[in-house]
C-alpha cells in the first residue's frame, strides 16, 4: 500500500513535469499562433490585437498557469485546423487508437512467446535460426514499410481486408476489427520482434538452471518443464521489455495511423504537426505521454504480480 501511495505521488509529480515540458517545447521553439490563425499577410495591428486577446504577451509562467488551469477544468482549447473543441476531438480518437494498440499487443505477444520459446529450446538448430532471423528482420524494417507490404498483399491482391478507415467497435464489431487488423499487424511486428529476442534469451537463462534439471530428472514431461516451470520464470523480463517497447509503439501509431488513414490519436497528432496547430500539438503530445506513463505503471504492477520475489518497499 505504501508502495502504491509512493508511486501515485511520484506519478502526479511526473504528470506535472510532463505538462511543463510539453508546454515549454511548444513555446520556446519558433512559431507564432497568431500568424497561424490569421495567415502571414494579415495586418500587424490585427495580429497584435489577437496576441493580446490570446494572452501571448503575458509572461510564460502566467501562460502556463492558464493552460494547465483550463486543462484541469476540461477546457482543452480549440483546434486551429479542425475549428473544433480539442477535448471532443480527442474523445473520439482515443477509442480508435485503443482498439489497434490492444490488438497489436495481442498479436505481438501471441507470436513472440512461442517463437522465442522454440528459439531457446531448439538453440542453434534450424528452428532457432528461423525464429532469430524473423526477429532480426522485424526490427530492421520500418513499420510503414511493413504496412505498405500488408496493404499490397491483403488489400490490393487478395482483397480480404480494407486498407484504410476506421469503424467504431460500438457500431459494428466485426467491421471494426477488419479495419483495425492491418494497422495493428504493422504496429505489432517490431514489438513482436523485440519480444521474441527477449523471450529467447530469458528462456535460455532459465533453462540452464538447476531446478530445470531437477524437474527433468524427476520425470516431468518436456512440455511441462518448458511451458510451466521455465516459461513462468522467464516471462517477467519479457513483460518489462514489453513495457519499455510501448514507448516505441506509441510513437509508431503516428506513422501507421497516417498510412492507413486510421483516424485515431496518432492520426490526429500527425494532422496537428503537419498544420503546426500548436494547441492541438500540446494536447495530443500531453495525452500520449500521459498514457505511456500510466501504462508503465501498469507494467510495473503486473511485474510484481508475476514475480512475487520482487518487493518495492
Amino acid at each position: 500500500m505504501t508502495y502504491l501511495f509512493k508511486r501515485l505521488s511520484l506519478l502526479l509529480l511526473t504528470l506535472l513535469l510532463i505538462s511543463v515540458v510539453t508546454f515549454v517545447l511548444t513555446k520556446i521553439l519558433p512559431g507564432d499562433v497568431a500568424i497561424m490563425i490569421l495567415g502571414t499577410r494579415s495586418h500587424p495591428e490585427t495580429l497584435t490585437a489577437l496576441r493580446q486577446e490570446l494572452g501571448l504577451n503575458d509572461p510564460l509562467v502566467v501562460q502556463y498557469g492558464r493552460w494547465i488551469g483550463d486543462l484541469l477544468q476540461g477546457d482543452w482549447g480549440t483546434s486551429l485546423r479542425f475549428k473544433e473543441p480539442i477535448a471532443k476531438l480527442l474523445g473520439q480518437k482515443i477509442l480508435a487508437s485503443g482498439v489497434i494498440v490492444v490488438l497489436s499487443l495481442l498479436i505481438a505477444l501471441s507470436l513472440a512467446i512461442p517463437l522465442g520459446v522454440v528459439g531457446a529450446v531448439r538453440q542453434n538448430r534450424w528452428q532457432d535460426t528461423v525464429s532469430s532471423s524473423t526477429a532480426l528482420l522485424g526490427i530492421s524494417l520500418p513499420d510503414f514499410f511493413w504496412g505498405m507490404v500488408l496493404i499490397l498483399l491483403f488489400s490490393r491482391w487478395l482483397g480480404l481486408l480494407p486498407s484504410s478507415g476506421f469503424v467504431s467497435p460500438l457500431e459494428n464489431l466485426w467491421l471494426s476489427i477488419k479495419h483495425a487488423l492491418l494497422p495493428a499487424i504493422a504496429l505489432g511486428l517490431s514489438l513482436m520482434a523485440h519480444l521474441t529476442r527477449m523471450t529467447r534469451s530469458a528462456m535460455l537463462e532459465v533453462l540452464s538452471q538447476d531446478y530445470i534439471r531437477v524437474s527433468r530428472s524427476k520425470g516431468l514431461g518436456e512440455r511441462m518443464v518448458v511451458y510451466k516451470h521455465a516459461l513462468r520464470n522467464a516471462i517477467a523480463p519479457v513483460i518489462t521489455v514489453a513495457g519499455l517497447q510501448l514507448g516505441y509503439l506509441f510513437g509508431s501509431i503516428i506513422v501507421v495511423e497516417s498510412l492507413f488513414n486510421y483516424t485515431g490519436v496518432g492520426w490526429l497528432t500527425y494532422q496537428a504537426l503537419l498544420n503546426r496547430d500548436i494547441p492541438l500539438i500540446q494536447a495530443t503530445v500531453f495525452v500520449i505521454a500521459t498514457v505511456f506513463m500510466l501504462s508503465n505503471l501498469v507494467v510495473d504492477l503486473v511485474y510484481k504480480v508475476l514475480d512475487p520475489r520482487i518487493s518495492f518497499e
Partner: protein
C-alpha cells in the same frame, strides 16, 4: 586508451576486460557468420554513403524523364525508375549519404547532450543526480518518435532540423545508460585510489571514468545509429524530415505509396536498402555487446 588512464587491475572481476582480451574476442567474434555479415553490411553501407556522391552527380538522381516513368528494372534502368522517370539506382545510392549523415550526426548530438548529463549524475550522485534524472525521466515519458516529430515539425521540416530533433530525442536514453555505467565504475577501488592520490574530479572523470565507460557507450551508439536510420525514414515518410528532391529512402518509400500495384520495385528498392543497413548495424551491435560481456560464451562450434 589504457596507458594513460587508471586501468582496473582485475579485469575479470570488474567485468571490463583488458584491451588485449577484448581484441582477441573481437577477432573471434568476427569469424562467426553473424559478426561477418553484420560487419560487411555496415562497411558496404558506409562505403556507399561516402563514395557514391563522389562518382554520381546529384543532378543525375533528380533528372526527370517522362518517357521512362515507372520503368521496371532492365539493363538500361538497373533498378527501374520512379513516377517521374528518375533512376532509382542513383537515388538509392545517394540516399545512403542522407541516411548515414542524419543518423551519425543525430547520434553524435545525443552523445554530446547525454554523456555529460549521465556522467555528472552518476559521479556526483545526491542532489545533482536526483534533479538531473527527474528531468531525464520526464523526457523518457515521451515516445522517441513523438518527441522527434514534434521538434522537427515545430522547427520546420528540413534535413538539419530532423537531425537535431532525432539527436535531442535520443539524448535521455543515452544519459540513462551513461549514468548507470558511471555509477558502476565510480564505485570501483581504483577510483578511490585515484582520489587518494589527490586527483581532481575533472581528472578522475576524464582519465578514469570516461575511458572505462566508452565500450558500452559505443555499443549503444551502434544500435542507436540503426534506430536513427529508421527514425529519419519515418520522419521523411511523413514529410517532416528530408525534403524533396533530395534523395532519401523514407521519401522514396513515401512516393511509392500510390504506385504499389503497378510498380512494386519503387518501394522494394529503398525498403531493401533500409533493411540491409539497419540489419547490419543491429547484428554488429549484438556482436559488440557479446564481446564486451565477459560472461558470454561463444555458441558457434566454428568459432572455437
Amino acid at each position: 586508451m589504457a596507458t594513460e588512464s587508471f586501468s582496473p587491475q582485475t579485469a575479470a572481476s570488474t567485468g571490463l576486460g583488458s584491451e588485449q582480451r577484448v581484441r582477441r574476442r573481437l577477432l573471434r567474434m568476427f569469424r562467426t557468420p553473424k559478426g561477418l555479415i553484420g560487419l560487411s553490411l555496415v562497411v558496404l553501407f558506409s562505403l556507399t554513403a561516402i563514395l557514391s556522391p563522389l562518382f554520381i552527380q546529384e543532378a543525375l538522381s533528380t533528372k526527370i524523364n517522362v518517357t521512362a516513368r515507372l520503368a521496371p528494372p532492365s539493363p538500361s534502368h538497373p533498378l527501374g525508375t520512379d513516377q517521374l522517370g528518375r533512376e532509382l539506382s542513383y537515388r538509392v545510392l545517394l540516399g545512403a549519404r542522407t541516411s548515414l549523415m542524419v543518423a551519425v550526426l543525430a547520434v553524435a548530438l545525443s552523445i554530446v547532450l547525454g554523456l555529460p548529463l549521465g556522467v555528472l549524475s552518476g559521479y556526483f550522485k545526491g542532489w545533482t543526480d536526483l534533479s538531473l534524472m527527474r528531468l531525464v525521466d520526464t523526457l523518457l515519458s515521451f515516445p522517441v518518435l513523438l518527441l522527434a516529430l514534434s521538434i522537427s515539425a515545430i522547427l520546420g521540416p528540413s534535413v538539419r532540423n530532423a537531425t537535431v530533433a532525432i539527436g535531442i530525442a535520443f539524448a535521455p536514453y543515452l544519459s540513462r545508460i551513461v549514468r548507470s555505467e558511471t555509477l558502476k565504475v565510480s564505485s570501483l577501488p581504483y577510483i578511490e585510489a585515484a582520489r587518494a592520490q589527490g586527483a581532481s574530479d575533472l581528472r578522475i572523470i576524464t582519465r578514469a571514468i570516461l575511458p572505462n565507460i566508452l565500450a558500452p557507450v559505443m555499443v549503444q551508439a551502434t544500435i542507436s545509429v540503426a534506430f536513427a536510420i529508421l527514425a529519419e525514414a519515418g520522419l521523411s515518410f511523413l514529410g517532416l524530415g528530408t525534403q524533396p528532391p533530395t534523395p532519401s529512402w523514407g521519401l522514396m518509400i513515401q512516393a511509392s505509396r500510390d504506385y504499389l500495384d503497378v510498380a512494386p520495385w519503387t518501394a522494394l528498392v529503398p525498403g531493401t536498402a533500409v533493411a540491409l543497413s539497419v540489419l547490419g548495424l543491429n547484428m554488429l551491435g549484438d556482436v559488440l555487446r557479446d564481446v564486451l560481456d565477459p560472461t558470454f560464451i561463444f555458441e558457434s562450434a566454428g568459432a572455437q
